[in-house]
């Protein structure tokens, strides 16, 4: 069977060449293997870097994929800054939601949400707010903004658009080789 190359198809040189204005530091950090520096949230205009970092932690706890680096979660949640800038209701939804999450974390664990060490403990905090508009908005947005990143698809063994490659008629649509003989 033809397996899918799990490495991103996206050439890191594209990121490093000239695209720097549209591709944030995140992508460069990822593509150069340097890891994500703390600076990614510093250019936020409306939400604080701490709030954005809490959203990233929350995003990973909602959809934990250990094979995905933080950069994908950052890409998924960073647009909240722009949405908060445009709409005061969004700004307070996010700020109040994060504040309440931190408050609950402080009450139970004496530290803010991002510093609660075990995922299970953080998930327990999220379960308490699962029905809130804050949580539902963040999750509802994330299920698209995380899984709809083309860079993420190969990591899930999904190949995306196929028509320009002639479909799968010569690329393994019927190459399964492990089934018992019918």
């Amino acid at each position: 069977m033809r397996e899918v190359d799990r490495r991103s198809k996206y050439d890191r040189r594209v990121f490093l060449k000239g695209a720097a204005t549209t591709v944030p530091a995140v992508a460069i950090a990822t593509s150069t293997g340097l890891g994500v520096s703390d600076a990614w949230a510093d250019d936020a205009s409306t939400l604080t870097p701490a709030t954005l970092k809490t959203l990233v932690k929350m995003a990973r706890d909602i959809y934990p994929h250990d094979f995905l680096g933080d950069s994908y979660y950052i890409t998924a949640v960073k647009p909240w800054d722009g949405k908060a800038a445009k709409d005061p209701a969004v700004k307070s939804l996010i700020n109040d939601g994060v504040a309440q999450l931190d408050q609950a974390a402080n009450e139970r664990h004496k530290v803010p949400y991002v510093q609660v060490s075990w995922e299970n403990d953080r998930v327990a905090l999220l379960q308490r707010i699962e029905q809130t508009p804050f949580f539902q908005k963040v999750r509802g947005d994330l299920v698209v903004s995380l899984y709809n990143q083309k860079e993420v698809w190969p990591k899930f063994g999904y190949e995306g658009s196929s028509a320009e490659h002639g479909g799968y008629i010569k690329r393994g649509f019927a190459d399964i080789d492990w089934l018992p003989k019918a």
Binding site: W153, A174, I176, A182
Partner: protein, 522 residues
Amino acid sequence: MAKFDLNDSGVVVIVGSGAGGGTLGNELAQKGVKVVILEAGSRIELQDFVNDEWESFTQLAWSDMRTTSGSWRVAKDFPNLPAWIVKAVGGSTTHWAGASLRFDEHEFKVKSAYGDIAGANLLDWPITLAEMEPWYTKAEDKMGVTRTNGIAGLPGNNNFKVMEAGAKKLGYKTVHTGNMAINSEPRDGRGACQQIGFCFQGCKSGAKWSTLYTEIPRGEATGNLEVRPNSMVIKIEHDASGKVTGVVYADESGAMQRQKARVVAVAGNSIESPRLLLNSASNMFPNGLANSSGQVGRNYMRHMTGSVYAAFEKSVHMYRGTTMAGIIRDESKNDPKRGFVGGYEMETLSIGVPFMAAFLNPGAWGRSFTSAMESYPRMAGMWLVGEDMPQETNRITLDPKAKDKFGMPVASVHFDDHPNDVAMRNHAYKQGAAVYEAVGATVTYPTPPYPSTHNLGTNRMSEKPKDGVVNKFGQTHDVKNLFISDGSQFTSGAACNPTLTIVSLAIRQADHIAGAMQRKEI
């Protein structure tokens, strides 16, 4: 290409260009009848389709505001998206999977076959399978349905092979790559399937039948058919005698236009079609046009649906190749011993990572969900589609508050499962899981119904005017030059996918309309 005057009162106006409207338009045009198709969506040709689920959804889906109520889970998870259907020239034939099956004989006479079922508004169709057979034959030839007319079946993809192996182990007998309106070999000016895997996003190769690039251009070539895209019909008008005289529609710029008509045929799918009749209420028809029975909008059916996805130890890559070219038909019979009447089909299905995340278990999160997502390349999947019970209370009404941009009330969709639907779905989930477990599935996921793709029954056919909206030709009981030409005519839903029956009815209706026009009956 024809261009008809707004004041030309000799034309047949068809609302919608999908399986019903697009087919009817071409058939009439071929017979020399002048036709104007008003299509709410824009004209997107196949080279512009995109192999990207969300981008394609934005391009094609009907996303205008609708509201929902009832106990179905869609009302909670997707409250403004009751249906996943298309707003574009070609309608939902751009997006459909291609499965083209005939009703069984008993599925045209469900009241006789199933008897009285509490809560179900069952009625026999005013037509029989025997009457429909010649029309089915014409439709299969027109659409190039595999395993009919000497057309070979499609080759099975990985997803089919898994299902087939499991089905054989369970002892199922009727298992094959389906009766698909997708070319397995070049035919009728269209090429063979390239196994692209994005059937739902519009077939970029044109191997799949769609009115967009078959019926519509052929009708246009006669000089008798004009298609006006971005034309949203607002209201159907009538004269003092109760005959319809034309329609008011919003054109591309949003300006209101009035197209006169000799005949109006409504084919806007089972949500918009009753909405249009209800929005066309007048002093003479205070409860909506053609609604003396009170049945307009009622008996909304969406098929018993659900999916089973299963994870295996090794790769499947279910997304490669034709989405729905695989079927197990053994459960489609009516065998009440299973605890429900009617039957269901099991058909291969795959969705990509973006839609899997959205639809596998809407609202779910955490490790059990992400573990399922991470099994994506090792997943096989099937869709369960079966007959649901028509219920009077499942219905399309006009929302009392929400209005569209033209100020017209939007459609509100109410749906509750009937106990028969629930029993059938549970049986189907169990059998679907068993198919996969027979070949080593490590986990199975009983996945809830998606927003409805098969919307049926809201202007149903009946022998007697008091029981339904249209007669056996889709002609409304109340207004003789007003027709319904889509799946809303269905008296019952049957187990199988509806498009072949919609197309067959449209071919038959064209014959009837052209004859009646010639005889000056309408």
